[in-house]
């Protein structure tokens, strides 16, 4: 593969040898010969070769917009997972899976996102797609395994022992506080954390925040990433007036999932207690963006409306929360919120 040079100095055209060469060029060629060589022909077979390549290229490019789109969404899902933005990751993975339902990588990202958002339905869907299929990307596989471990905190193995914690609320505070210490090493860490959470929840309901926080601290010493325990710690610290500590615990969970609507809603409620209404409004908006149907986000937004004097809007959201809770035969949030909105609970 070379380009070679020819050098000549004769004054007559070196090609036709009949006409005088044009001066000023490295080689002596007449106008006609120079024009001919300037346009050295490209052979027909090469035109055909180029046309075949062009056709193949067009065939490839015709399908490209869809695949380009899918590739962009796949990369966005990957990036969102890297940044712990799991709501975005799930949305982006879904956009890819709309075109390519079996794509392992997208199902992997969806699984990770579903795990960190505790989205059981999508977790099962993506798990079925991943089951028994080889994942060659070691980093992705490690992330999937890590996410799977994270979800295990929700699944109790010792259900009998777990059931026994239901009666704990009648026991003396000291027994409740020290229960975790009494468990032997044979009890699985995730089970221990679950017991701790349940005991703390009973204490929270009794408004014994001091003991509740003590139990939660023991629980988090066993299972530092425990979502339920950290979430309850935020509420306990907030109700105990430790706003700084509550916000710090929010940051712990937001480091795991930066788009956690429930935790952002918690931040909003703390800011409302601190009378930082502007920040609270921004956080409520953010929580609604990430969880448009999340009850905690709706509650936070209703409270922001209420404290900014928009009572009809807050009542509208209360009605919506009531309707949503009715579907699960629950009324915890709506009752709590209605007390604030009708002035029974001054909140701040």
């Amino acid at each position: 593969m070379e380009d070679n040079l020819l050098l000549e100095t004769e004054e007559q055209c070196i090609h036709c040898k009949t006409t005088q060469a044009i001066p000023g060029y490295p080689m002596n060629l007449c106008t006609d010969c120079r024009n001919t060589f300037n346009n050295y022909p490209i052979p027909k077979w090469l035109w055909i070769f180029a046309a075949v390549i062009l056709l193949l290229m067009i065939a490839g490019l015709i399908r490209m917009p869809d695949y380009f789109d899918a590739s962009v969404h796949l990369r966005r899902a990957e990036k969102a997972v890297e940044q712990h933005k799991y709501i975005t990751a799930k949305k982006e993975a879904d956009k890819v899976l709309k075109h390519l339902p079996g794509l392992l990588e997208a199902n992997g990202y969806k699984f990770i996102a579903a795990a960190y958002t505790f989205d059981e339905r999508n977790l099962n869907i993506s798990y079925e797609q991943l089951q028994d299929k080889p994942i060659n990307d070691k980093e992705l596989l490690a992330e999937i395994n890590k996410a799977m471990e994270y979800t295990e905190q929700l699944i109790p193995t010792d259900t009998l022992l777990l059931k026994s914690t239901d009666n704990f609320s009648n026991y003396a505070t000291a027994i409740q506080e020290n229960f975790l210490d009494s468990l032997n090493d044979g009890v699985r860490t995730t089970d221990k954390a679950l017991f701790g959470y349940r005991i703390a929840n009973n204490l929270f309901k009794k408004k014994d925040y001091k003991t509740c926080i003590a139990v939660l601290k023991k629980t988090l010493a066993i299972s530092p990433d425990n979502y339920g325990a950290t979430g309850l710690l935020i509420a306990s610290k907030r109700n105990a007036g430790d706003y700084k500590g509550a916000l710090a615990s929010c940051d712990v969970l937001l480091a795991i999932n930066r788009e956690d609507a429930r935790i952002i809603a918690q931040q909003c409620k703390i800011r409302l207690l601190q009378k930082q209404d502007k920040e609270a409004a921004m956080l409520a908006k953010q929580a609604i963006t990430f969880g448009p149907d999340d009850i905690s986000a709706l509650e936070a937004q209703a409270m922001v409306y209420y404290f900014s004097g928009k009572k009809p809007e807050s009542n509208k959201l209360l009605a919506r929360i009531r309707a949503m809770e009715a579907a699960f035969e629950d009324s915890l949030v709506s009752e709590r919120l209605s007390k604030i909105l009708n002035g029974t609970d001054p909140y701040r």
């Binding site: 593969m1 300037n38 050295y40 490209i42 490839g60 399908r63 490209m64 590739s71 990036k79």
Partner: protein
């Protein structure tokens, strides 16, 4: 594993054809007469273009490095849709063909030692070339020789894969 260069050249012949065509097209663009073109043959060199000496260093550089530009751009464009399909596990036989063409074409982007030699003769050793053009062209010639040396270690193939597979994915990353 040692595979004779000529076998690689034969297997990736579309790249050789595009390489020589690039020299020819740059000559045509600069109105430099071309006297003979061999687009492909099963010997060393696998192709060549015999043309008049370029009238200035810029033309000489572009004629010599033309394949680097054309083969890279063409290799990337041909392989782009196929590389995305591979990333999405949705590749079909057409994509295999496009990827083969893309890699073949891109891996022949490197100017040959013959190209470097002609650039050296026409610019660095050229009597009419300015000192500045000699200074600027010397490292280009050096890089071409380095590239040729690198092909012993499959640098040309690595370059072809990077252009045909790596670049499309980099484009997506930058797009996001």
């Amino acid at each position: 594993m040692f595979i004779p260069g000529i076998i690689i050249t034969i297997l990736t012949f579309p790249g050789v054809i595009v390489h020589e065509l690039a020299h020819q097209l740059f000559c045509r663009w600069f109105k430099v007469p071309v006297f003979e073109v061999c687009y492909f043959r099963a010997q060393n060199p696998a192709g060549y273009v015999i043309h008049e000496k370029a009238r200035n260093p810029t033309q000489a550089v572009l004629i010599s490095t033309g394949p680097f530009i054309l083969n890279t751009v063409l290799g990337f464009l041909i392989a782009l849709p196929a590389a995305l399909q591979f990333k999405l596990d949705a590749a079909n036989p057409l994509d295999y063909l496009l990827l083969y063409l893309g890699i073949s074409i891109a891996m022949h982007a490197f100017p040959s030692t013959g190209d470097a030699e002609s650039l050296w003769k026409s610019v660095v050793k050229g009597e009419t070339s300015s000192r500045l053009s000699k200074i600027l062209v010397t490292p280009i010639v050096g890089f071409i020789y380095l590239g040729a040396l690198g092909s012993f270690f499959w640098l040309d193939l690595m370059y072809g894969i990077a252009v045909a597979i790596g670049l499309p994915w980099l484009l997506i990353t930058l797009w996001v």
